[in-house]
């Protein structure tokens, strides 16, 4: 990796700092006297990710070689826009999806009526994994954790009455994302939206499926190929559409530390961009539309610093490592979601407080859009009442607390700048380790990344059980009454039947000749190492199903059995 300029050496943040005479004097007198009277609560303090933290940070702790810069300028530590939330507040984007397309469309209208400003879709497991609703493995899961989509007709119903030139929509789908991106394009264009007007995002980050969320179909290498196909296709056909949202969220939810979340996410993004470059595309053709998705966990300062560090490291990677020239390629635009894993099923009202504080961290960290979890989201599809509190939490932050009125207000804090520097340096070290051992795909295939995450997850669980980490209401301040106080969300029991009926009637009525020709074209493109997207879109227009399209590529790429690491 000769093109990797090593800036980490300049940021030797772990080197012991020489205390100034004034500080040393304070330690010897004022502090020492206080500690004699009242010792600290514990000997060592650290961040949620285990980075040791000191009692006090001063100017001595801020490495002067780390560039903080100004907002809207390289290296974007202080945010990607010069005005940040003074010109336009972050987008309130709550993810939603359950049942059939009509059910979820109803939820979207509820959310928009309550002041949500962008949409986000969760799909059910059969859709995520490229199976039709009437496939035996998928039937028990139809509509349970997201909306069921089989054909483009479902997407049309999902987006009914929603102007796709005005409301940006994000799709949380990965292994079969290439099909849903095509369906979204078809529906938007049928609505009369022009290519330049289509906005929105697809998660489409397959690498973190192998390391964290486990919703994959094909082996990693061809799956990355498919991602690059979509990036190339979207850049040509709908240039304002973000074909990918590289996600740390799931890595963190799987139990990683903040440093691992940073390293493995930026590693994935680097992999997609460099694969596109290998294909002959310029980095500046694809990188401006690479977006990101972060988990906002409980350690308030660490999460703020994580977003700042992520922006600076990505800017440096794109400019110095990859050689991108367009400032848009250096800018990390990101969605954030409060940490689902921090929610507790016990005493669920406490989740409102957790979410509010995490949301504040996301805003102070400079996120572009935000999902605040509903208090009942730890155990079910959120109820409307709980979702409303979550949306209102964001509106209170924006309209009452005045936290959106100054750009990057915590910059210059000794602790914040020190922790930003350390997170960046630690993440860069770990990312270089991955690249040195053969890159992301190699480190996924041999299970190395999964092992790192499993170790961190297990260490946190042990700490909870040893009560060196706390979850209020779970391992401390526990209520005697252990029954979970909630009414379960009940999915309409006719969902499966309704979905399968629609699917089977489409299979009967569609034109078979065009359908078969389009599927054949997908296969030929895949075998010939050409971009499969034009053929996929043709098949979508011929009402091919998600399962049928994914099956064609199963025939070419095969399935995948991941190493089981725990």
């Amino acid at each position: 990796m000769t093109n990797l300029n090593n800036n980490a050496a300049a940021l030797d943040v772990n080197a012991p700092q020489e205390a100034s005479p004034e500080l040393q004097n304070w330690r010897d007198t004022t502090l020492a006297a206080s500690l004699t009277r009242m010792p600290t609560r514990k000997e060592n303090f650290d961040t949620l990710s285990g980075l040791p933290i000191k009692d006090l940070y001063t100017a001595d702790d801020v490495d002067s070689s780390a560039v903080i810069g100004l907002p809207g300028e390289y290296p974007y530590t202080r945010g990607v826009h010069p005005t940040m939330f003074r010109a336009r507040p972050w987008t309130i984007r709550q993810v939603a999806g359950f049942g059939t397309a009509e059910d979820t469309n109803g939820r979207y209208k509820y959310l928009l009526d309550h002041g949500e400003t962008g949409l986000s879709t969760d799909f059910d497991l059969p859709t995520l994994l490229g199976y039709d609703s009437d496939h035996p493995i998928g039937m028990p899961e139809i509509g349970k954790i997201g909306v069921a989509v089989d054909t483009v007709d479902d997407v049309r119903l999902l987006m009914a009455d929603i102007p796709l030139d005005k409301v940006s929509t994000s799709y949380t789908i990965n292994a079969s994302a290439f099909v849903l991106i095509g369906m979204y394009e078809v529906v938007a264009k049928d609505q009369g939206v022009t290519a330049m007007q289509i906005t929105g995002t697809c998660q489409n980050d397959i690498l973190k499926e192998y390391t964290a969320q486990n919703e994959y179909i094909y082996p990693p290498a061809p799956a990355v190929r498919l991602v690059v196909d979509t990036m190339e296709y979207a850049a040509k056909m709908m240039p304002r559409y973000n074909a990918i949202s590289v996600s740390g969220y799931h890595i963190r939810e799987a139990g990683s530390t903040a440093v691992q979340e940073l390293a493995f996410t930026l590693g994935a993004a680097h992999c997609y961009v460099t694969e596109a470059v290998k294909r002959g595309l310029s980095a500046d053709f694809v990188a401006p539309r690479v977006s990101f998705f972060w988990d906002i966990h409980n350690d308030f300062f660490e999460e703020i610093c994580k977003l700042r560090a992520a922006r600076r490291l990505w800017a440096r990677m794109m400019k110095e490592w990859v050689g991108a020239k367009d400032p848009k390629s250096w800018m990390m635009r990101a969605h954030s979601q409060t940490a689902g894993v921090s929610l507790t099923a016990q005493q669920p009202d406490n989740n409102v407080a957790r979410v509010a504080i995490q949301a504040l961290a996301a805003v102070l960290g400079g996120t572009q859009s935000l999902h605040t979890n509903s208090k009942d989201e730890a155990f079910q599809i959120p109820s409307e009442g709980a979702i409303k509190i979550a949306v209102r939490t964001q509106q209170i932050l924006e309209l009452e607390n005045r936290v959106a009125d100054v750009v990057d207000p915590l910059a210059g804090s000794y602790y914040v700048e020190n922790l930003t520097n350390r997170l960046e340096a630690e993440a860069e070290d770990l990312l270089r380790k991955v690249l040195d051992r053969g890159g992301m795909v190699q480190s996924i295939e041999d299970g190395w990344i999964q092992q790192q995450i499993a170790d961190a997850s297990s260490a946190y669980q042990r700490a909870l059980e040893a009560q060196t980490e706390y979850m209020v209401g779970v391992n401390i301040h526990v209520d005697e009454e252990s029954k979970l106080p909630f009414d379960p969300f009940v999915l309409d029991p006719t969902v499966g039947e309704r979905q399968i009926n629609r699917l089977q009637s489409i299979r009967k009525s569609r034109g078979q000749a065009e359908f078969s020709a389009a599927l054949k074209e997908i296969k030929e493109a895949a075998v010939g190492q050409q971009n499969v997207m034009p053929a996929v879109v043709r098949a979508i227009r011929a009402q091919a199903t998600v399962g049928e399209i994914c099956d064609v590529l199963r025939g070419v790429y095969g399935g995948y059995r991941a190493p089981t690491v725990y």
């Binding site: 497991l125 059969p126 028990p140 899961e141 919703e215 029954k483 979970l484 379960p488 725990y566």
Partner: protein, 147 residues
């Protein structure tokens, strides 16, 4: 005649017999395996022999693994909401095919009314979020001791 203590009988049994064999399985399409991996590690650390199936397991695959591995315990982890379907099908298949009792336990997000149904199907216990791993390990050991 001197009566050995219950504790002695237990220790002798454990020492003379093979370790407990536990299959940890993820049925269906749900990929959320943080809990499954944590509990697999906890069983292993408690000296049990653990077979973790990985994800995307059908009912047939899970039952076959339990029988082929001669497992004493089957731990199912489900967070997708499909727990009733898989709980019922797997317990039914084990009743039909297993030659001796297999303890079936489940972990995941399961509403209280569904726990009652799962116990009727034959799931011995359902462990919800926040359960101490040692509580699950102890439950399994106590069951084995009572056999």
């Amino acid at each position: 005649m001197h009566q050995p203590s219950t504790e002695f009988i237990y220790k002798e049994r454990v020492m003379m017999s093979r370790p407990l064999r536990v299959v940890v399985a993820k049925p269906g399409l749900d990929g959320h395996d943080r809990g499954a991996k944590i509990i697999a590690r906890a069983f292993r650390d408690a000296g049990m022999e653990v077979i973790y199936t990985g994800i995307f397991q059908t009912v047939d695959m899970i039952v076959r693994t339990v029988l082929e591995e001669d497992a004493d315990v089957l731990g199912l982890s489900i967070l997708s909401g499909a727990h009733l379907h898989f709980g019922e099908e797997i317990c039914k298949a084990l009743r039909e095919q297993a030659t001796r009792e297999v303890l079936v336990v489940m972990g995941g997000i399961v509403p209280a009314p569904d726990i009652i149904k799962l116990k009727e199907f034959g799931v011995a216990e359902v462990f919800g979020p926040g359960t101490h791993t040692t509580a699950i390990v102890d439950y399994v050991k106590d069951w084995y001791q009572a056999q």
